[in-house]
């Protein structure tokens, strides 16, 4: 796909968190929500009402894909993984945010201990 991933930026923050969570490992819906919640100290909470419509949208747009059921888990739990296109989007958004963070820290908006 020759499309530039920057054409879909900036992302809905919740969508970005889902992509980031899936970049680490393939996962199912509830696990995604839990890992995002843990990583953000409970600040970002993906409820059932926000998570699954986003998953459906990202499936339809080809950012993520379903993988086959994992043997030792409940077969009703659907596992998701990033597609190459989804990975490129996540990278592009991460770069965009990194740029913004660099700017902010140059302007001394971010205290040093935040990176610790």
């Amino acid at each position: 796909m020759a499309r530039d991933p920057r054409s879909v930026l900036p992302l809905n923050p919740r969508a970005f968190y889902i992509l980031v969570a899936l970049a680490a490992e393939q996962s199912h819906g509830y696990a995604i929500a839990k890992s995002v919640e843990a990583a953000t100290d409970g600040v970002v909470r993906l409820t059932a009402g926000t998570l699954y419509p986003l998953i459906r949208q990202m499936l339809a747009d080809g950012w993520i894909a379903e993988c086959g059921a994992v043997r030792d888990q409940d077969p009703r739990r659907r596992m998701y993984r990033l597609t190459p296109w989804g990975t490129r989007i996540a990278q592009a958004e991460a770069l965009r945010l990194a740029q913004a963070v660099r700017m902010a820290s140059k302007s001394r908006l971010i205290p040093a201990e935040a990176f610790a």
Partner: protein, 845 residues
């Protein structure tokens, strides 16, 4: 987790579209149940679900909408035909509803209007009852003797009076409790009071705003009416309407009915308006009226055969409008139904053409349900576009409709596209979408083809024929009635005849207590001067002329009036006429002599009678020379027998006595005159002549008798023509419907027909095959249409003259017409089928 919360969440998931629900509901429930229950979290989830689901659904609808617009734009001819048909039928339906709403459906602007009604006296004459208002004395008796009415008031007929600076105002003279009976409140000040001065006036809201600038200090100011000063006591509310027996009128000033000294012997004709106590029925009121009949009769004088009756205001105001407007509404709704059936049919046929497109969509994963909702959205887009255009058309047609509807219905002129009408159009869009979109969408969803769609198409064609039949039958019956009505002989000639009606100046009468026209010789002077107008051949005085009916009088003859037979009491029509009345109107003199100069003296006793009178009361012939005893002191001498005349198209001739005009009846005076030809400026000339004499005349109106006759027929004619146009449109649409169904079915049978022809079927057999299908549909449609017409025919009954609503002649003609039409619609497909070559038909295999 709380089981209630679980259940709530499961229920909440139904907000999502079905396809999302089937894939994610289970996972979402698990997810929700494993979260720690915390009120803020639950509330957030509820919010997330609802907003997300709404967005998702809106997106679906929006996508369907865009797709629908694109699909419709791809088929411009189809879209134009469908949108045009919907637009036209919605436009006519909207106009009809706007009229219906303005005239009939809007509540009357009074407190509890269903408790209000008029009281009448009805005199039973030889040819049916005559209805008359009451006198002020009778109204006083009514208020005193009847306990069933919460309030009894009265108004006179409205008139126009001169005020300061040459302007005129529309005035209504009422009893003091008029406003409280209606239940309206003054904007400022007070309404009329019984005890107060006779010179009080209430002014309308618009007069207050325009002439007095809406200032509060208007109270106590004076207003000059016909030379007398009145003190303004209050201002009536905005939009106040006054009920008169057959209309709602707008008045600018209200004053009290003047007191007539009882010694004068004169009584004032008034319209008694009553209000019932809470919970009292009109039947009970009627029974009470009959109980006090005697007291009212004493007040009215010894007239025989008088009955009093009452009923709700609605009935007297809207009796004419009701049947007409509902009839028109039923007719346009019939046309709308046919248009919907046609559009549904077109959509079905187009659906089969688009089979490939639907197959592709379902192959890429669209569920039948999604495709059905897509098809439904396309229909909704068509219906909405049609309604939008229809609304513009309706808005443009409103002024035309207001001026074309006959019969001057109350509040007709207020009809327009207002908020109830807009709401109604929204309802129409939904109805049209459901009616036209259900079948095609259902077909997509159930994915049935072939046999079922054939049946649906046929059923639609039958419905169209049924509705078209009912409308055409209605038109046929009205046409028959109209021909019957207008072909009866009227008994006189109206060619070049003009009539003038002179309204007396009411205030002069009250002041002088005598009808000014009775001054000796004024009438003769007017007639003499009008005869002198160049171009006028003849003129005569008359209290009433057929079809003008300015002042129709009924005289009661007491028991024993007829010396030969000791006759029973009866009521006869009475007209006072001048010497040349019969020649002028070409009413045939059948026996005896016309009135001579001597008959017009004060002590006259010569009368003429008409044929109906002679036939009813002197069946053995020879009425000329007989005596009629009117009262102990008065006897009439019959000198002539004249031909019957009709007072209007719908009335049979009444037994009538003609008396020589000598101004004795009352303040009313009319003229008939015949000219050599059309005479421009005649009306002005006549008015000038009358204003120069001492007739004390108020308004004078002059009209051509031929116009009056045409107007009398116009009510019926316009209704009939309207129904005719609508029936024609319905018939045309139904023909298109039959045609498309038969043509489509025939096309599907080409293969079968090819085989039939190959094995030896003759063209005759092939035509028979196709015609047969058309005729079966036609017959079913006619049967259903007959049933439909029988159920709705009572709407017509009021409009008909001597014709039964289920008129066999008209129905027979319409049945034959429908059969011919059904056969004609099948002719083209049949002709095509006949030319099918067996080889080419079989090549399709």
């Amino acid at each position: 987790m709380n089981p209630w919360l679980r259940r709530l969440f499961a229920l909440l998931l139904f907000a999502y579209p079905r396809d999302f629900r089937t894939s994610y509901a289970l996972t979402m429930r698990e997810h929700f149940e494993s979260e720690t229950p915390e009120w803020s979290g639950v509330l957030r989830t509820v919010w997330d679900v609802l907003s997300g689901a709404t967005a998702m659904r809106a997106e679906n609808v929006w996508r369907d909408f865009i797709y629908a617009v694109r699909m419709n734009a791809k088929a411009p001819l189809f879209t134009t035909v469908v949108v045009g048909a919907i637009a036209l039928s919605i436009a006519t339906n909207t106009v009809a509803f706007a009229l219906l709403n303005a005239v009939l459906l809007k509540p009357l602007p009074y407190a509890n209007p269903s408790q209000l009604g008029f009281v009448w006296q009805r005199m039973t004459g030889p040819n049916g009852p005559t209805t008359m208002p009451l006198s002020n004395v009778q109204v006083d008796a009514l208020a005193q003797d009847s306990k069933i009415f919460a309030s009894v008031t009265a108004s006179m007929s409205p008139d126009t009076v001169a005020t300061n600076g040459g302007a005129t105002l529309r005035r209504l003279q009422v009893k003091a409790n008029y406003f409280s009976t209606l239940g309206v409140r003054p904007v400022i000040g007070a309404f009329l009071t019984d005890g107060g001065s006779a010179q009080q006036a209430v002014i309308s809201w618009s007069l207050w705003r325009t002439r007095f600038g809406g200032a509060a200090n208007v109270l106590g100011k004076t207003l000059k009416l016909q030379g007398d000063l009145y003190t303004i006591a209050g201002v009536a509310p905005q939009g106040m309407l006054d009920p008169t027996p057959d209309s709602l009128v707008q008045t600018e000033v209200w004053t009290k009915i003047p007191r007539m000294p009882s010694s004068s012997g004169n009584q004032i004709v008034v319209f008694p308006l009553v209000r019932l106590h809470d919970g009292v029925s009109w039947q009970a009121a009627q029974a009470d009226l009959s109980r006090i009949q005697h007291a009212l009769n004493v007040a009215s004088g010894p007239f025989p055969g008088v009955h009093y009756y009452t009923g709700p205001l609605d009935d007297s105001l809207f009796s004419g409008a009701r049947s007409f407007l509902w009839m028109v509404y039923a007719a346009v709704t019939g046309v709308l139904l046919i248009a919907c059936a046609n559009v549904a049919n077109l959509l079905l046929v187009r659906g089969t053409v688009r089979e490939g497109e639907f197959a592709t969509r379902s192959a890429v994963g669209a569920s039948p349900r999604r495709i059905a909702s897509q098809v439904f959205t396309e229909t909704a887009v068509l219906a909405t576009a049609g309604a939008a255009i229809g609304l513009v058309l309706a808005w443009a047609a409103m002024p035309w409709a207001r001026s074309t509807i006959p019969g001057d219905f109350p509040r007709l002129q207020t009809a327009g596209i207002d908020s109830p009408v807009l709401l109604y159009v929204v309802g129409l869009i939904i109805a049209v979408t459901l009616l036209t979109g259900m079948l095609p969408a259902y077909k997509r969803r159930s994915n049935k083809t072939g046999k079922m769609s054939k049946h649906i198409g046929r059923a639609l064609a039958v419905v169209e024929i049924a509705v078209a039949f009912a409308l055409t039958a209605g038109f046929g019956v009205m046409l028959h009635s109209f021909v019957a009505m207008t072909s009866v002989p009227l008994g006189f000639s109206a060619r070049n005849v003009y009539v003038a009606n002179i309204h007396p100046n009411r205030d002069t009468i009250f002041r002088t207590q005598i009808p000014p026209i009775s001054h000796a010789g004024v009438d003769r002077e007017i007639v003499r001067r009008i005869r002198a107008i160049p171009g006028v051949l003849d003129a005569t005085a008359a209290t009433s002329v057929p079809f003008q009916n300015a002042f129709r009088m009924t005289i009661g003859l007491q028991a024993g009036w007829n010396r030969d037979r000791n006759g029973p009491p009866l009521m006869v029509g009475a007209v006072q006429v001048g010497a040349t009345y019969f020649q002028l109107l070409h009413i045939p003199m059948l026996a005896g002599r016309g009135f001579a100069a001597a008959d017009f003296s004060e002590s006259t006793s010569s009368v003429a009678v008409n044929e109906t009178f002679a036939h009813e009361y002197f069946p053995r012939g020879n009425v000329v020379g007989k005596l009629i005893r009117v009262s102990p002191g008065e006897t009439w001498h019959v000198v002539a027998l004249v031909g019957d005349t009709r007072a209007s198209f719908k009335e049979e001739p009444q037994a009538t006595v003609y008396l020589p005009f000598n101004g004795g009846f009352g303040p009313y005076f009319g003229l008939a005159l015949r000219t050599a030809g059309p005479l421009p400026g005649l009306a002005g000339e006549v008015k000038r002549v009358i204003s120069r004499t001492d007739a004390g005349a108020g308004a004078v109106d002059v009209s051509s008798l031929q116009d009056l006759i045409a107007q009398n027929a116009a009510d019926t004619r316009t209704g009939m023509e309207l129904l005719g146009v609508l029936a024609g449109v319905a018939l045309l649409l139904a023909l298109c419907g039959i045609y498309s169904v038969i043509a489509y079915a025939t096309q599907r049978r080409f293969h079968e027909i090819g085989i039939r022809v190959a094995v030896g079927a003759r063209p005759r057999n092939v035509i028979g095959l196709i015609l047969n299908a058309a005729l079966v549909q036609g017959a079913l449609g006619i049967a259903a249409g007959l049933l439909l017409f029988a159920c709705t025919a009572r709407l017509l009954a009021v409009e008909l003259y001597k014709t039964a609503p289920l008129d066999p002649l008209a129905l027979g003609v319409v049945i034959v017409l429908m059969i011919v039409c059904a056969a004609a619609a099948a002719l083209v497909p049949a002709w095509r089928a006949m030319r099918v070559q067996p080889a080419s038909a079989l090549r399709y295999e």
